[in-house]
Amino acid sequence: MAGDTGCKRTSLYDLHVELGAKMVPFAGWEMPVQYPMGVLKEHLHTRVKAGLFDVSHMGQVILPIGAVAALEALVPVDIAGLGLNRQRYAMLTNDAGGILDDLMVTNRGDHLFLVVNAACAEADIAHLKAHIEGVTVVEGRGLLALQGPAAEGVLEAIVPGAAALRFMETATFLWQGNDLWVSRSGYTGEDGYEISVPDEVIDAFARALLANEAVAPIGLGARDSLRLEAGLCLYGHDIDTTTSPVEAGLTWALQKARRAGGAREGGFPGAARILQELANGPSRKRMGLRPEGRAPMREGVEIYAAPEGGAPIGTVTSGGFGPSIEGPMAMAYLPADLPEGSTVYGEMRGKRLPARITPLPFHPTSYKR
């Protein structure tokens, strides 16, 4: 469905408007950026109770289970070793070792289920179809994320069995006769779920979740500050076709089977660069920055080694104010040999302001492992 802006609308559009959301165009979709509660309170609510996010703009794709090897040829990730009903974070790489998109891959027994970024969905699907037989774009299903410490209790009350899932585990449940594809995952740093829901019932299901007083609807604004506090990458900002998974600090997602000496070493686009960086270390790395004072260092701010002179040593890729850490935070690609705790300078409005290199995440994560 398309609105006046030419943007697509999710099946929850009417609910967002009813809840008083401010709607904005995002990756070709008309999405809620915030509700009357406001970004700051929405963020904090998610950290202490539960937030409901409409992420139906993201692409849902199914591959035949026989496509495991073909998918492994596109990602530096162990797909063959992905157990039944297990989910894994992955990235599509290009021949230069850059990242085309990051995604979630689930082994649902007779097929693989992929969730890709909205902005990349069209290109991803074309890329997958060019290399894999039987790629199916899921139509007629939306996606919700329920995140926060109260998420488990809230979902269990209307979807019995959901509480038993562990982090990155998935299952199918029935809700009023409709199948829900539930995974214990998310992108806020909190425990929680992502739930693929048939379009016909997603409005009713979202209302059933919102009927619990612990749940508030949360917009894209707080989704961004939550994921940044959790040290997670936003595609097109912190990772793109020029950044490798190793530079981005995503080596935890590159399992042994695909590394040098592994059972299925290499064999993905950009393997030469990625394996070389794994062996010798990259020259630059994504790092966390805590600017002194309260001024946010936003995307595009250039980082210098010294308070005066010299050329920039990097650029902020994501930055803003962290409501839970009560201060500004940023991420930037910086020379890999810069030690944690050292001070660098971000130039804003003609002034260089100090920032300390800090381990990620900025706010501790609380996944249910």
Binding site: G38, K41, R294, P296, R298
Partner: protein
Amino acid sequence: MTILFTEEHEWLRPEGDLVTVGITAHASEQLGDVVFIELPEVGRIVEKGEEICVIESVKAASDILAPVAGEIVAVNEVLPDTPGAVNENALGTWFFQIRISDPAALAGFMDEAAYTNFIG
């Protein structure tokens, strides 16, 4: 007490040759949650339209312009530590006070009814 409004969504409270300045509730709603405010230095001589404050919300950075020419004689020193006050009570949260040299500088600003009409 008179209160005047600018098209840049500032409010002005004139008392003699002193003008106290803040931003309107409409502006604070548009900005979203304010997280950082940088105030001008006391004693600074400013021209009308000069960028003298930085205000950053969770969404973006914007500037506050001097609504009139004059000298900054006071700033709300607790504001940089409590920027959220702007969202709680915009009309009750002042930023700075300007001493104007020319009382005619206050001509042409909107009253509350005109401003309400202006923001539609």
